[in-house]
């Protein structure tokens, strides 16, 4: 095992895949000479040169589409979005083009591309810079969606995403780039579509993913002190989702709390909740609870921003509700 940050893990994944396959290249704003707005691509320009590590204009719609075209023609682009807020400019290319090409062409034009970058709120960046787009992206058939929260998953899943023959949306977080953890040495691949049981318990199943799963971890440790033991699942991949892992846990604990950094209406949590009630109806001892972002644009002011986002306290309250301890 090697200890590294998520930033380094993502960089290593790209480095290894670019070494392995000359068709892989990286483009995006500031990825080359500036080493990435968040320094994820540090050193790649030096290693691979400007042919394969390319600074783009601030033209998200344009370069996302250039990536899709290059992928249709046989290359394997990694497109870095400085943040997913800006990728909204490129939703036409991601949703109308990348996601549908293989289907519309009867399988003739797969689009092996990765769109990656940070997603969700950071700190006091206000409404246009703090959006979590999980629900919008997972709603679109044809896109695989990955959301990572530790270095090992970041590396293993990014490598799998680059090798996948489909458009893969890869969601990171500014707030987690410096997070350190252990990563296996040598070739390290994690299959797309496998969740992970991070902690085992018997009383409640907590399902989470991405940055907010770190808050769930904190809540679970506080709950342990209070004598409530939880299964904590990090989904890691949202599409395709490891539903079997969720169902098995709920059949054991009979209670589920979903912790998401999404607005609650038609969110990923709503989807999971629907699947649990359908598949585990007889196993449930309480309605499934969701801890979501409040349904407001994320405000700037520090106090308001904190109130808008999921928190340990909100998770503890939801766990109390499903265990009827409130």
């Amino acid at each position: 095992m090697k200890t590294m940050t998520i930033r380094e893990a993502l960089g290593e994944a790209m480095q290894e895949e670019m070494e392995r396959d000359p068709k892989v290249f990286l483009m995006g704003e500031e990825v080359a000479e500036y080493d990435g707005a968040y320094k994820v691509s540090r050193g790649l320009l030096k290693t691979f040169g400007p042919k394969r590590v390319i600074d783009t204009p601030i033209s998200e719609g344009g370069f996302a589409g250039v990536g899709v075209g290059a992928a249709m023609a046989g290359l394997r682009p990694i497109v870095e979005m400085m943040t997913w807020n800006f990728a909204i400019q490129a939703f036409d290319q991601i949703i109308n083009h990348a996601a549908k090409m293989n289907y519309m062409s009867g399988g003739q034009f797969p689009v092996p591309i990765v769109f990656r970058g940070p997603n969700g709120a950071a700190h006091m960046l206000s409404a246009q810079h703090s959006q979590n787009l999980d629900p919008l992206l997972t709603n679109v058939p044809g896109l695989k969606v990955i959301s990572v929260a530790n270095p090992s998953d970041a590396k293993g899943l990014l490598k799998s995403a680059i090798r996948d023959n489909n458009p893969v949306v890869f969601l990171e977080s500014e707030m987690l780039y410096a997070l350190k953890g252990e990563v296996p040495e040598g070739e390290h691949l994690i299959p797309i579509g496998q969740g992970k049981l991070c902690q085992e318990g018997n009383d409640v199943t907590i399902v989470s993913w991405g940055k907010i799963s770190r808050v769930a971890i904190e809540a679970v440790s506080q709950l342990a002190e209070q004598g409530v033991s939880c299964d904590l699942i990090d989904l890691r991949t949202l599409v395709p989702m490891d539903e079997a892992l969720v169902f098995a846990s709920v059949r054991k604990t009979h209670r589920a709390v979903i912790v998401e950094e999404n607005w609650p209406f038609a969110s990923v949590g709503a989807q999971i909740s629907d699947r649990i009630q359908h598949e585990c109806f007889d196993d449930l001892d309480a309605p499934v609870e969701r801890v979501s972002q409040e349904p407001v644009p994320v405000p700037y002011s520090e106090g308001l921003e904190h109130l808008a986002l999921p928190s340990v306290d909100k998770i503890l309250a939801a766990v109390k509700r499903v265990t009827y301890k409130s």
């Binding site: 704003e29 500031e30 000479e33 500036y34 707005a37 600074d55 783009t56 204009p57 601030i58 033209s59 998200e60 719609g61 344009g62 807020n85 800006f86 909204i88 400019q89 950071a122 700190h123 006091m124 960046l125 206000s126 409404a127 246009q128 810079h129 409040e294 349904p295 407001v296 644009p297 405000p299 700037y300 002011s301 520090e302 106090g303 308001l304 109130l307 808008a308």
Partner: protein
């Protein structure tokens, strides 16, 4: 009667020059104070400063009427003040306070004031361009006498929506003045590395739009040019694009090491500092002396400190504000 004083063959007016000098100095000191407050962690997030670029704002906005519209990007603290928003309300917004001009909900990138027709700082590069055209559309629709000023960064010119907006503006003939603040960089990327043309005014050629390029390090140059340009847009009700050559001294946001450019380059521009240039002119014309410059600076530093003190004393938004304004009030 004494002949009016001239400078580089242009008649000059002491009062106007002093006013522009004091405004530029105020904006410089305001941004320095914002920078300090950020490094003292009085607020967080992003903080994009206009230090070095004061001449453009002052030269342009001195030519505007109160009922003209201004819209900009995320680098717009002092443009908001120039449009009439009290500095203390801008500072309070930086700190996310209830008395901020956006009630603490917008922050550094999102100054707004309907009262002052400042239609916002916007966070998505280029996103303000279509909005500006919409405002200019309204000006024509209601037969107003206003114009719309839309500030854009150089790098914003490569955003697709900007192209679309400019074509609509030129085709529909609406009174919007696009001002490209060409500070040569979009974050850490020199504009020539992402753009096929050497000068951005050429984009206007694609739309048959009137255009110009100016040295925006000199406030008198900006002012002289903008007087006629603003009048042209107002009279003819058609768009105009100005490429304003300027330079930012500080990083893109406060947390930017600036490794993409040399110290020498920054110093080269600082030699042509807009405040310094005007100061030299004022002295040369005997319009002001060192004592006056010192006194003004002292006075302005005090004013900026007061704005900050107001912001610090202002209460944070009430928790209930989380839920207000998601939808407009029913009427």
């Amino acid at each position: 009667m004494k002949a009016p004083k001239t400078l580089r063959n242009v008649a000059v007016d002491r009062e106007l020059m002093v006013d522009m000098y004091r405004k530029m100095l105020f904006f410089r000191r305001f941004e320095e104070r914002a920078n300090l407050a950020y490094t003292q962690q009085k607020f967080s997030g992003f903080c994009h400063l206009h230090i070095g670029q004061e001449a453009l704002n002052v030269g342009v906005q001195t030519c505007l009427q109160p009922d003209d519209y201004v819209i900009s990007g995320y680098r717009s603290h002092t443009q908001a003040i120039a449009k009439g928003i009290p500095a203390q309300k801008v500072f309070a917004e930086l700190l996310g306070k209830s008395e901020g001009c956006s009630s603490g909900k917008g922050g550094s990138m999102h100054m707004f004031s309907k009262e002052h027709r400042f239609f916002g700082g916007h966070g998505i590069v280029g996103g303000q361009a279509p909005l500006a055209v919409g405002m200019a559309f309204k000006v024509n629709y209601e037969q107003e006498n206003s114009i719309v000023v839309c500030y854009l960064g150089d790098a914003a010119m490569n955003q697709g929506q900007v192209f679309e907006a400019m074509n609509i503006a030129a085709t529909w003939k609406v009174p919007v003045l696009f001002i490209i603040e060409n500070n040569l960089y979009g974050m850490g990327t020199a504009i020539h590395r992402t753009t096929s043309i050497d000068h951005l005014y050429k984009r206007a050629l694609a739309f048959d739009m009137k255009h110009s390029m100016i040295d925006a390090m000199n406030v008198l140059t900006v002012y002289e040019h903008m007087k006629s340009t603003v009048a042209f847009v107002r009279k003819n009700k058609e768009p105009f694009l100005v490429e304003a050559m300027t330079y930012r001294y500080k990083g893109h946001s406060v947390s930017d090491a600036g490794t993409y450019r040399t110290k020498e380059e920054v110093e080269e521009y600082q030699k042509r500092d807009p405040i310094l240039q005007l100061q030299e002119d004022l002295a040369r014309l005997d319009f002001a002396d060192d004592d006056a410059f010192k006194a003004w600076d002292k006075e302005i530093r005090e004013q900026v400190k007061e704005a900050e003190a107001f912001a610090e004393a202002s209460p944070p938004p009430d928790e209930r504000e989380l839920w207000t304004n998601v939808f407009a009030d029913e009427t």
